[in-house]
Assembly symmetry: C2
Homo-oligomer: 248 residues x 2
DNA sequence: TCACATTTTTAGCGGAGGCTAAAAATAAAG
DNA sequence: CTTTATTTTTAGCCTCCGCTAAAAATGTGA
């Protein structure tokens, strides 16, 4: 809960404009900065730190560019940085990242639910809109959707005050044969995969079971509804699932 | 050329990718560029040209910055420019401007009609979203609104293929006493004015009549519905109206 | 421990889009 | 037709955010 007691990141306007709650009036940052913070947020994952190279790969920029940006972000108090030692978001940085993620995911949900976008094309649109939409707009969208808790790909949506379900899930590749499970989530970054999943009806919420698994990472036979699609290991490791205990 | 390694790789792939209709596949330009083109589009108006100073004032940038940007835009073929002689949009520039204007106005309409935004706060939001929303998204919004022809402030919405109603209108200040007219349009850039207009129910579509006009630009007494608000000249010149001929 | 591989940083550069101050061109007034 | 005022451009500078090439730090395998 450290209320971002960092140093003087906010210029020299007023000492403390309004800090009633935690800290909602964080200076709005640029589009690239929001994308860096998002990338770092989810690369860091549990270890807490992200490497220069990973960030570079994720954002499709040169490693040198990442070093440069990282230095600026550190000087703004958005992250902690020690040369050669990776980077870790500060509390402020985490808040900014989570709000950007919230905007992204609410927008994706709105686009599919209300405007009829197919789930394989919302990501690119959201990747740009997330930087332009105000929190108010996003909250209006969320409200009109009934405050959904996950986006079309099953990713959890942070609440307006920055809480997010951080549960880890097993992949379809790890699922024991015969175990009943529910499809929970898949990455939103591969449109082809998403289209294929939609085709075999393997979307978040759907029940799925592994019927057979050929050795040496061979094909995996599934049961989805009353079809039995056979998928590869490459797909299975991308799909997150959750065991479902049948209640009487 | 170096910087275009990944993103703007569109440059010189094929001479003419697809030019079936007029020219719909125009390289997407930056946010500042879109704002310059919009500003020039409507400053130029009928005369066709806009001055450096006017553009600067409209965009809140220094005149020197405008000169710099103008040179770049001219070199990209978005406008025609002769030193000291003002600037005029090229056909390409006009197309880009109109599409940006379409996005802006459809977004404003969507925000008020669907998401319940008050009409005095949609402009700022649209000013940012217009650069991030794809034409597809905007077309989906337009479709779901039934393809409206004007935005919440009465400004005409260009069609997807770039047609826009360019009619000029008289202002409330010019309206003859006793003439029945319909409120048509008001600038979207002054939230206070918009709130006041909403308060006296003077919104696009509403019938209005000038009952009296005090001399020397004095107060103007209106009839709006069954109220008789008295407004100043400053307001009256901002409100565009259209005479309404009563049909039997 | 030493040599090589990998990762990261530094150095230097470029374009976009801002700025201010000064110079130049154009327009307005006497 | 000058002189002055206004408008516009130039010159020079800045920040942000990219890039490449080279140097430095860190990690690894013999
Ligand atoms: Mn996404
Ligand atoms: Mn983004
Ligand atoms: Mn507007
Ligand atoms: Mn804008």
């Amino acid at each position: 809960m450290a209320a971002s007691a960092k140093k003087a990141s906010s210029s020299k306007k007023t000492a403390a404009p309004s800090k009633t709650t935690a800290n909602l009036a964080i200076d709005r940052v640029s589009e690239p900065v929001e994308d860096y913070l998002k990338a770092i947020y989810d690369l860091a994952g549990k270890s807490g730190t992200a490497s220069t190279n990973d960030v570079a790969a994720r954002l499709n920029v040169a490693a040198a560019s990442v070093t440069g940006m990282i230095r600026r972000l550190a000087s703004q108090g958005l992250l902690e940085y020690e040369r050669y030692r990776g980077v870790r978001l500060s509390e402020t940085g985490r808040v900014v990242a989570l709000r950007t993620i919230r905007r992204h995911r609410v927008i994706e949900t709105y686009l599919t639910e209300v405007l009829g976008y197919p789930w394989d094309r919302v990501h690119d649109e959201a990747e740009r809109l997330e930087h332009a939409a105000s929190d108010e707009l996003v909250d209006r969208m969320a409200t009109s959707l009934g405050n959904p808790t996950s986006d079309p790909h099953g990713a959890p949506i942070p609440t307006a005050d920055g809480q997010m379900d951080e549960r880890r899930h097993q992949t379809l590749a790890e699922l024991d044969i015969g175990t009943r499970a529910r499809m929970v989530r898949v990455s939103d970054k591969n449109p082809g995969l998403l289209r294929y999943l939609a085709e075999i009806d393997l979307t978040p919420g759907t029940e799925v079971q592994v019927l057979a698994r050929a050795p040496f990472d061979g094909p995996i036979t599934l049961q989805v509804g009353d079809t039995e699609p056979v998928v590869g290991q490459g797909l299975a490791v991308q799909v997150l699932v959750e065991e479902v205990q049948d209640e009487t």
